[in-house]
Amino acid sequence: MYTEKVIAEFTNPENVGEIADADGVGEVGSPTCGDIMKIYLKVEEDRIIDARFRTFGCAAAIASSSMATRMIRGMTLSDAWELSNADVVDALGGLPEAKVHCSVLARDAIRAAINDCRTRRGLEPRETGSSRCGGGTGCGSCPENG
């Protein structure tokens, strides 16, 4: 059901771990949903110089985290904010319909980390336009979607 790219990214994920002196940390999902994604950013001026993750979840969630952190390394914060879940899906060579919400989680975790970074710098967090697990994915476990 998964593309070879997804399996390769899942079996050999990059950027697993934490950043001790991270400038922004974002966590989305819940054990109830079966996915938790936590993304750590190291930022110099406006550029992401390191991105790492820890994820509890299925192969698609782990592959999405790995791919998304690879993609935003070296990006400016505003470019990283614009990374869409479709960009992650494309980079993975596609995800099964039922797993697309994992790519939404990756986008949301990045945005949560960027907002954490903004808050630490005394800036207003940006409107994420999402509930904590991506919302609207029909998951059913979250009270927001129930």
């Binding site: 079996t11 697993v16 771990g17 054990p31 509890f56 059913g140």
Partner: protein, 399 residues
């Protein structure tokens, strides 16, 4: 198995089994030489008829029934649908209440859900932490309107075996019919429909080394039950459709083999399973065995590994050539993990972290060794990735 290259270690026998060569050999002539329709009158079709009749005697002998009480179906799900819908609809003037358990297979649960839409009421009994239905709860749930009690013999996910004889007696004490889904139990739990007070029993060929797409429903003589499949007069007018003759012959041979030495078979399988369970619990911290410690199918091991998710475990095992199964469902729309594990009181996280390994007749001690070699590594890798893993349970980071 011919698939040894691709799947060196198959431990998903609760999903389906391979077919034993002697069963395939028994079926073979009925695909070609004896292709006649058992309903035809000419002598040539007689062999087909004999094949079906012989299989009916084999199934009856295996469960302590009379051959005329055995009806062939296209599998376990059809048998469950027929038993539950057929008994409910035929006894509607006597009552509209059904008692079942929260951990039944979906073939029973979804059928009960459908009957609720038709105006029946259904009580879904809870289970204890080991997955056992308390016969006392069955007694309490029964009302004057109860027409059917349906509780599975053994659970497909956690392997827990129910007190079937006791539940059957409770049902009969109150004038209700008793159905049991024995799809996972045949060949592991000795079945005697008389002694166990069973009126209706479902079974399926591909769970005990027979063919897929063929099963049977035992219907005690005199049981009021509507037909499910309408049409021709096959199966003595109870189940229409030209018989799947090779499949039925295979099912008959399979159940004969599966029930020839249940005790010896269980002893051999359980010895391997017990070593697997002991070693997994001993070598992987923060792990629990789901299901009952002793009252469980001899081939079933079901674990929950904290901090990790089942599909990930499954795919990493697959990459290392091990076939297993999980109660996790990590997808939008159906992200509820196993209803069975949740019913035993597991948290969502624990249910998502479940892994089922079910052994079979081709498994060896070497297969168990392979799993014991690979599994700790797989769990360790995923725990390294998971944000839920406490520091004490992490492998020291090498960066």
């Amino acid at each position: 198995m011919n698939d040894l290259d691709r799947h060196p270690v198959y431990m998903d026998h609760a999903a389906t089994t391979f077919m034993k060569p002697e069963i395939m050999a028994a079926m073979a002539p009925y695909f070609s030489r004896y292709f006649g329709n058992p309903s035809s009158l000419y002598r040539f079709a007689r062999e087909s008829r004999n094949g079906v009749d012989g299989a009916r005697r084999q199934v009856a002998a295996a469960i302590g029934a009379n051959p005329e009480e055995v009806f062939f179906t296209a599998g376990g799900s059809e048998a469950d649908n027929w038993a539950v819908k057929g008994a409910a609809l035929a006894n509607r003037e006597r009552g509209d209440h059904i008692v079942t358990s929260a951990i039944e297979h979906h073939a029973v649960l979804h059928t009960c859900g459908w009957l609720e839409k038709q105006g029946f009421s259904v009580t879904y009994l809870p289970v204890d932490e080991f997955g056992r239905v308390d016969p006392g709860d069955v007694e309490e749930a029964i009302t004057d309107a109860t027409i059917l009690v349906s509780v599975m013999t053994a659970n497909n996910e956690i392997g827990t075996i129910q007190s079937v004889a006791e539940i059957g007696r409770v049902a009969h004490d109150h004038g209700a019919l008793f159905h049991t889904d024995a799809v996972q139990a045949v060949g592991a739990v000795p079945i005697d429909v008389e002694r166990m007070g069973i009126d209706l029993l479902s079974l399926s060929g591909h769970k005990f080394y027979g063919p897929k797409g063929v099963g049977a429903l035992y219907i005690r003589r005199g049981t009021r039950i509507e037909n499910l499949i309408h049409g021709g007069g096959q199966e003595r007018g109870r189940r229409a459709g030209t018989e799947n003759v090779p499949g039925i012959v295979g099912l008959g041979r399979a159940i004969e083999l599966a029930t020839a030495d249940i005790e010896g078979h269980n002893r051999r399988i359980a010895a391997m399973r017990d070593r697997l369970v002991r070693s997994v619990l001993g070598s992987i911290p923060d792990t629990r065995l789901n299901g009952h410690p002793t009252e469980r199918l001899p081939n079933n091991a079901n674990f929950s590994f904290r901090y990790v998710e089942g599909e990930s475990i499954l795919l990493l095992l697959d990459a290392r050539g091990i076939c297993a199964s999980t109660g996790s469902a990590c997808s939008s729309g159906s992200s509820e993990p196993s209803h069975v594990l949740l019913a035993t009181g597991l948290s969502h996280e624990e249910a998502h972290g479940s892994l089922r390994l079910t052994l079979g007749d081709a498994n060896t001690e070497e297969d168990v060794d392979s799993v014991l070699e690979v599994l700790p590594d797989v769990i360790g890798r995923l725990r390294e990735i998971s944000p839920l893993t406490p520091v004490r349970a992490r492998i020291p980071e090498v960066d």
